[in-house]
Symmetry: C2
Subunit: 296 residues, 2 copies
């Protein structure tokens, strides 16, 4: 990783981690609920989604300030999805990023409600915390993109497909549909939201949607490979769980070598799309490489 | 109930029940997810929240068309909250409106996700299904009101307070805070959203927020009374459950007579607020009486 990318990731991660708790603390809500929401929001992670929002604003040469509440919104959605995924009736996970999962600390009922609250409040990040310089039409459009990415047609739909895939052999195309919904759409949202805030031309926004698809699928393939080859210390959860659970993954369908080749294809396509845009390309190329090479 | 109110309730309920499934059917989402969302949306109910949106438009002499997607949004939020409330880790209910609860039919994981999807998609009702005659600023304001009513500061917060109240004796004021969040805020939202769509004067919108509070608390007191005195057939769930669970209610704190008196006070205050507004009052007075006298 170049020192430029490293600097960008470090400063923006710090910015997001400084702002996220402020939005929760100012809520007029029961203390237990806020603690449970904060517990999972502050459990760490790469903050990749908000960083993508800010990276697009940066690449288009715009101020990043309005990207912060939008980035916090997408991080709140991502966090709610992890809390609900970890529930006993879903993946039944006790550990997330090396810490006990939300329901292990606060109980299942509060975990369900903390997820519901994070999901609901995320929309207010966009409607009120983005500055009034951003026209209402644009804020509505970002809300719409977020619903499409996170709702029945996006992440929640992908989660249902994932559950259905557990009980039957799946094709590569079916596996791709799962991850398109579960992972890629929210990454695409992050990129598109940054571009909308940056007043990017419409045809570039559509190319960025495709870019988001490729880095999203690439991200998931890398996840599957890390589950086989990664270090438990670095990832913060048990490895090998996909194999133990008999889950279809890119390596199980394509072999590890085939999965690595597929990952490279997606990253190359993502870079080619970036090469066609009217923005500073270096940072986004480096983000692509980071997604392909990351060890956690 | 007068035949005018009866006619209004019947036609508007039919309208909402005709439109709600259309919004779900058009989603590009997995069939199981859509079935699970539809199952609970179509389980019946009074559709009081959407009816309040339409009643306000009607009372201000406006077309009701834009109230339909907003009414569907609030019904989707109400429905998601019932699905999550019924989960084994929450109230663990097997029966709702005389039918098996969502998780009894679709399993817990799908029920959690159907709730998440209904919550997420509800926002799109306001941002895209309301006609473009409604300015973006106004649609954003309605989204904001919905987040405040449904999120950490509203319904979800009330649910947390309700859980905390189960394990300790509560005062009348604490009980009121629970129901303000759990019930009144979403009823207030319905009334306010109708008034915003109807271009009501700002000071009337604030009076309607207060009106929503009084009918919301009144609605809950009537619910508590019905749990003691109501007919299981009409309500569609077991009565007496509050007493069995040792739950604090208005009758348990005030006696049944005291609760009935409190209910009347709230309904009278609600009517007084209506009397001060520049709208057709008859329908809203009758809705107040219906809330106070309903048998299910």
């Amino acid at each position: 990783m170049t020192s430029k990318l490293e600097g960008f990731l470090k400063t923006r991660k710090a910015l997001i981690e400084q702002r996220l708790p402020l939005y929760i603390q100012e809520l007029q809500a029961p203390a237990t609920l806020k603690q449970s929401m904060l517990y999972s929001l502050e459990a760490g992670g790469k903050r990749l989604r908000p960083i993508l929002v800010l990276a697009l604003l940066h690449a288009y040469g715009k101020h990043e300030e309005d990207g912060i509440p939008v980035g916090c919104a997408v991080e709140m959605i991502h966090t709610y999805s992890l809390i609900h995924d970890d529930l006993p009736c879903m993946d039944d996970d006790d550990l997330r990023r090396g810490k006990p999962t939300n329901h292990k600390i606060y109980g299942e009922a509060t975990a369900v409600l903390a997820g519901d609250a994070l999901l609901t409040e995320s929309f207010k990040m966009i409607t009120t915390h983005v500055s009034f310089n951003v026209p209402a039409e644009k804020r509505l459009r970002i809300v719409n993109e977020l619903v499409s990415a996170a709702g029945a047609e996006g992440m929640v739909g992908g989660q249902i497909l994932d559950m259905e895939a557990e009980s039957k052999p799946v094709s590569l195309q079916e596996l791709q549909s799962v991850h398109e919904g579960k992972t890629a759409k929210l990454l695409s949202f992050s990129v598109i939201a940054g571009a909308i805030l940056a007043d990017a031309p419409e045809e570039e926004i559509e190319k960025l949607r495709e870019f988001g698809h490729h880095i999203g699928i690439g991200f998931q393939i890398r996840d599957d490979i890390l589950d086989l080859e990664g270090s438990e210390d670095k990832i913060g959860k048990r490895t090998g769980s996909d194999t133990t659970n008999g889950k279809s993954t890119y390596p199980s369908l394509l072999s590890v070598e085939g999965a690595k080749q597929k990952l490279n294809e997606h990253i190359e396509k993502a870079k080619r799309l970036i090469s066609e845009l009217s923005l500073e390309k270096e940072l986004l190329y480096e983000l692509c490489d980071m997604i392909a090479d990351r060890d956690h």
